[in-house]
């Protein structure tokens, strides 16, 4: 019965699809808090980020305190606790990319987008974040836009990529 109450309380915040996916994860773990990261990812996948309301709703569902879940959410820098743009650009600044001159590419990218690390474009289309390695060092410098990986970056490539996504965004 308690479960029903919790579900109905959180239902207003979390969608039934999210609840379904989280419940599926719950069936795989011995303790509810074990599904914390997956639950956060599920919610973020649909909404782009995890709001306070969602965080509290997930915490209730997993029988955790908001503090405990917040500790997990803020520990991982790919769980976003603030709104992000439609596409998150993860720009690698790790050692291989640095050797291959990623700093210049980053300047170029910032110039195109008119934003720095941690910022979102005014039209809410892009958020730029640094990332320590995307596992494609042989093709450095690299970055990810949303789920797409782009390698061997140079100025013209960057312009093309951004132009492509801007167009996509307009559709």
């Amino acid at each position: 019965m308690i479960d029903n109450i919790i579900q109905s309380e959180t239902a207003s915040t979390l969608t039934s699809e999210e609840l379904q996916l989280i419940n599926l994860e719950l069936s795989h773990v011995p303790q509810k808090s074990g599904a914390a990261i997956d639950a956060l990812k599920i919610v973020q996948a649909k909404r782009g980020w995890v709001s306070d309301e969602c965080l509290i709703a997930i915490a209730k569902l997993l029988e955790m305190s908001a503090e405990e879940l917040e500790g997990i959410a803020t520990f991982y820098n790919l769980i976003f606790r603030r709104p992000v743009g439609d596409k998150v650009i993860l720009f690698c600044d790790s050692v291989s990319c640095w050797l291959c001159g990623c700093e210049n590419q980053k300047h170029k990218l910032s110039e195109i987008l008119k934003i720095d690390y941690g910022e979102t474009t005014k039209d809410n289309q892009f958020t730029l974040l640094p990332v320590p390695c995307l596992g494609a060092c042989d093709k450095a410098p690299v970055m990810m836009v949303g789920d797409d990986l782009f390698t061997n970056l140079n100025s013209s490539k960057l312009e093309q990529i951004i132009a492509y996504y801007r167009k996509e965004g307009e559709k």
Binding site: Q31, A66, E67, E70
Partner: protein
Amino acid sequence: MPTIIVDGKSYEVSRGKNLLEACLDAGLDLPYFCWHPAMGSVGSCRQCALVQYRDDDDKHGRIVMGCMTPAADGTRVSLKVDEAKEFREAVVESLMLNHPHDCPVCSEGGECHLQDMTVMVGHRDRRYKGKKNTHRNQYLGPLINHEMNRCITCYRCERFYRDYAGGKDLAAQASRDRIYFGRHQDGILESEFSGNLVEVCPTGVFTDKPFLEDYSRKWDLQSSPSICSGCGVGCNISPGERYGRLKRIHNRYNQEINGYFICDRGRFGAGYVNGDKRTDYVGLKEPSGTFKALKRGEVSYHLTRWIGDGNIVGIGSPRASVESNYLLQKLVGPSNFSAGLSFKEQTILKRQVSILQTTKARNPSVKDIEMADAVLVLGEDLTNTAARIALAIRQATKNKAIAMAKEMGIEAWHDGAVKNLAQEERSPLFIATPASTKLDDIALATMTLAPEEIADFGLKLARHLTEGDSEDPQITEIATHLTTAERPLIISGPSLLNANIVESAAAVAEALVRSNQNTQLSFTSPESNSIGSILLSEDQNLTLQKIIEGINEIDVLIVLENDLSRRLSAFEMKQINASSAKIISIDILENETLEMSDMVLPAASFAETQGTLVNNEGRAQRFYSVFPPLNDRLPSWQWVIELARAIGNKELSAIESFDEIVELCAKNNNFQALLSVAPNKNFRDHGLKIPRQTHRNSGRTAITADVSVHELQQTPDNETPLAYSMEGLNRDQPSVLTPFVWSPGWNSNQSLQKFQAETDGPLKGGASGVKLIKSSGSGVSVACDPTFSFTLEKNFWRLVPIYSLHGSEEMSYHTKEISQLAGLPFIVLSDKDANNMKVSDGDGVVVTGENLKMSISVRVSSRMAEGCAGYSAGYNEIEQLTADAHVQISRDNDWQPLKPVVIATDRIASFKSQDSRHV
């Protein structure tokens, strides 16, 4: 015992320790931050680095963390080698990168572990020139101040708050140099033990907020060895005073009782000592009904004129010292003396004492409770009635984890590993109460029962343990856990005012002890000297109710530190008021009893006098004054002597010192051991008195320079071996006379380890406190046959008391911060009852009974016994509600929720505009 070699010198160390503990035990100064003797090691701060060598030939060695390395036999290490020293200095330098240079305005300054360690490693010059991190601080309630910038990320706060004390609303957030320890949002910390963060934090992130508002440096505080008077557990405390004001309370280590931690009532609940409700002068009631303040010189004249030689009856108090109670009993004679308890309280407490005097089970200290490996709680919400015991039970549930670790060869101090191994495995804890408790989260099973049902349940269990006749699966399960445990503990107490519960707890323990001699039986006691009062008046049965019956034959009624309105109904109070008996009240704070007295004598609080208190296990402990009483206040026992002089009682009039009272009292059979509780006033430590002030106490010669340039004489203390002075020796004396801890290079409370015989071990000054209750071991005879039941009555509810750490206790309630936290009185209803009544949380109900009709706010709980209604016990506004009363409860349709006392910060509003936590 293993021998370790540190820098070429051999040291014998106790088995099962880590290198950090071993070095500290050897008297070596090895800096540390995250290790805590009660919480073990996690190796997060990297401060206790030393170099370990394989053997004699190994000249290079390797850096290891002292707290994470076992001190095995033959371990060779070096503290002094440059590599280790540089490493430790570098750790402090890196911690200082973001630490602000705000020591002069930080309330931790002067007792800061970070300061001590920085000096110890020799780090002086900061090379870092960059910007420091700035965090947003949170509002954490009226007790704790938050200053996150000072954090050095040792994780001690989170480990204490969550892992040790079971709090949920404080956690580490973010990662690397953005780590933040706090709540999800601004708000009052929920744990009853939050105050320990002040002492656990090695720097000034969490500090004592009331102390901050009325601040003095540690070295300027005058301290004393004292005992908390907040409840019956008797935690040892070290209160600090300056300018005649009680400034703060710190924990005072007692291995058997509180160890390193006390509850928030104990730490923050003594502000009433400085409050405006204190009685200052002798008051004589004039015909107009107002009090006239008498000059000190006039008092004895008025007393003599006034008392005469009529029939004098004395009412003692469970919150007054043994000595004060004893003296009053001696003055009025045993048959005219009442312990000052209501009939129910007296009956139950007396039974508790008689059980403890005969039981075959062990009567455990708090430390013993921590060692239990299966616990059954009958009828007590321990977190709110004996908070320190609840904290001990939380540790007891970890004994399974420690046992699992032992099997794997993991030492108990290896905290992270032990927790990781055990996951959710806990030693079994069973709780039978009428309402939810704060230990429910770690209980294997909770039972929501009405008081009679708890007693019935206990007896059923006891019968099953002896005869094995029950088929109730829950009873058989609990019985299995209790019988297979090595050190089972049954704990109960008087809080539900039901004697049968106490009886049933004894029955279970007696049944268990037949097969297991390590069975423990413990009872809580409600007030600081409840058990002392009972031991004193063991043979007498003069209850308050009996005094009222014969009130018209009494000429003078002397009430000692007892607000009778908390134990008597309004009707009974009226009877006393209407009688011709003259009432003399000796008390600390204004209260209803004082209001109706004819003469008021202002008493010294626990901070201004000495005395002995007997805790729940029957342990007598001495507390000492922190500062001399102000105004015309006198210790209660001195007032009783004044009364004796007025009456012409030669024996008592001749008493000149406190020690004489102790000697007299020791003639009472139950108090023979009283003489060994503490040394008498002639004790000297290496020929010197023991100073209450630190050797650095500042401004002694200048403190009154605005009045006179002559140095004031220090107030002499002729009653104790302690002095109101900085001269003397705070070293090598018995523990009972240790006012504060300090050692060269160790200015923080971590200097405690210099006073311990070994880390986490007994104090060098020996144990303090003497058990007055020793069991004869003859066994308790309990009738296991009775059955009790609770019948639901339509439209009637049974009132059961619900206790709050903040609010239920008489004295602490008069502390500003505590009364804020106490909030408004409430009624707790089961969700089923609430549903039928159509009320929900925050709605109002009308409670109607005999001479009773009031509207109260409602809390709905899924763990509240049906047919019972919990009421917030001890709240003055609803003092007409009494345990076991039958009342009608209905929805209050005109309920206007009263506005709670607003606890907020002016900073909250300004924060709302900024959503970033990390700037």
